[in-house]
Amino acid sequence: MFEYFYKYGSPRHFYDLSKMFVPWLGGICLILLIAGLTGGLFFAPPDYQQGESFRIIYVHVPSAWMSLFIYVVMASAGAISLVWKVKVADALARASAPLGASFTFLALATGSLWGKPMWGTWWVWDARLTSELILLFLYLGYMALQTAIDDRRTAARAGAILSLVGVVNIPIIHYSVEWWHTLHQGPTITKLDAPSIHPSMLVPLLIMAFAFMFYYAAVVLLRARYEILENERNSAWVYELTEQRKG
């Protein structure tokens, strides 16, 4: 039974297997996106205080959740790579970083677009946005480290250590920034803290969150396939693939 999984740790089998999964995951993602967007944009009523602008929540919050989730996945893949030396984990970790950075960027950008009508300024150093900004730095640093190291295997393992250091630090940083924010601005409840959220607004949000998860699953496989090709570019099976594609 363990051998069943062990086989799919091999890059070649992963490459073949993932080809089947990507369209299905993408399809589910698309369905969920359509469902979530219709629910969020059409069926959810406008917010009492914020009017229609609250609808940004349907891309802002899922992006923020994904930005954190992906970092944890990246660190977990790194841990698996360090402990069990699984090559596929290397590819998944490296593939996840640009996606995590993208979602962090989206969380910041959509948060800013939401903040302007709500708070009157394009940027506010509130605890969550500041934490997201720091998370973006962590992602960019991870990507910079990977590019700086030429040997891809060493780069993956170094990145694994970095992401583990990051994952330990993220709760500490988050707590510190939250505490820092209360120091300087007093106990204001930001408008992002909905005290209670009506189901007609909540359900599309959860659907969008799942949609983003399936998106991540599909696209990380897509990217990981490319990473595996680069990792294994000198191997025979990659060489044979060129035959298949040319012919």
């Binding site: 891309v59 396939r225 570019r233």
Partner: protein
């Protein structure tokens, strides 16, 4: 049609809501297109290298 207009108008917040959604979709689509392009480039480079090696022999 007026309901479509009012939908697009988003209660006056259109310049905030729609760019947010458009930006999201651009980023999501880019993240699908770029790896696919790179995979294509990878294979093209490999095929070229193979052709050069075969020619050298």
């Amino acid at each position: 049609m007026s309901s479509l207009q009012s939908f697009l108008h988003m209660g006056g917040y259109a310049i905030y809501v729609w760019p947010a959604y458009v930006l999201t979709f651009i980023v999501l689509i880019l993240n699908v297109i770029l790896p696919l392009k790179r995979e294509g480039q990878f294979f093209r480079a490999l095929v070229e290298r193979k052709k050069r090696l075969e020619k050298a022999q």
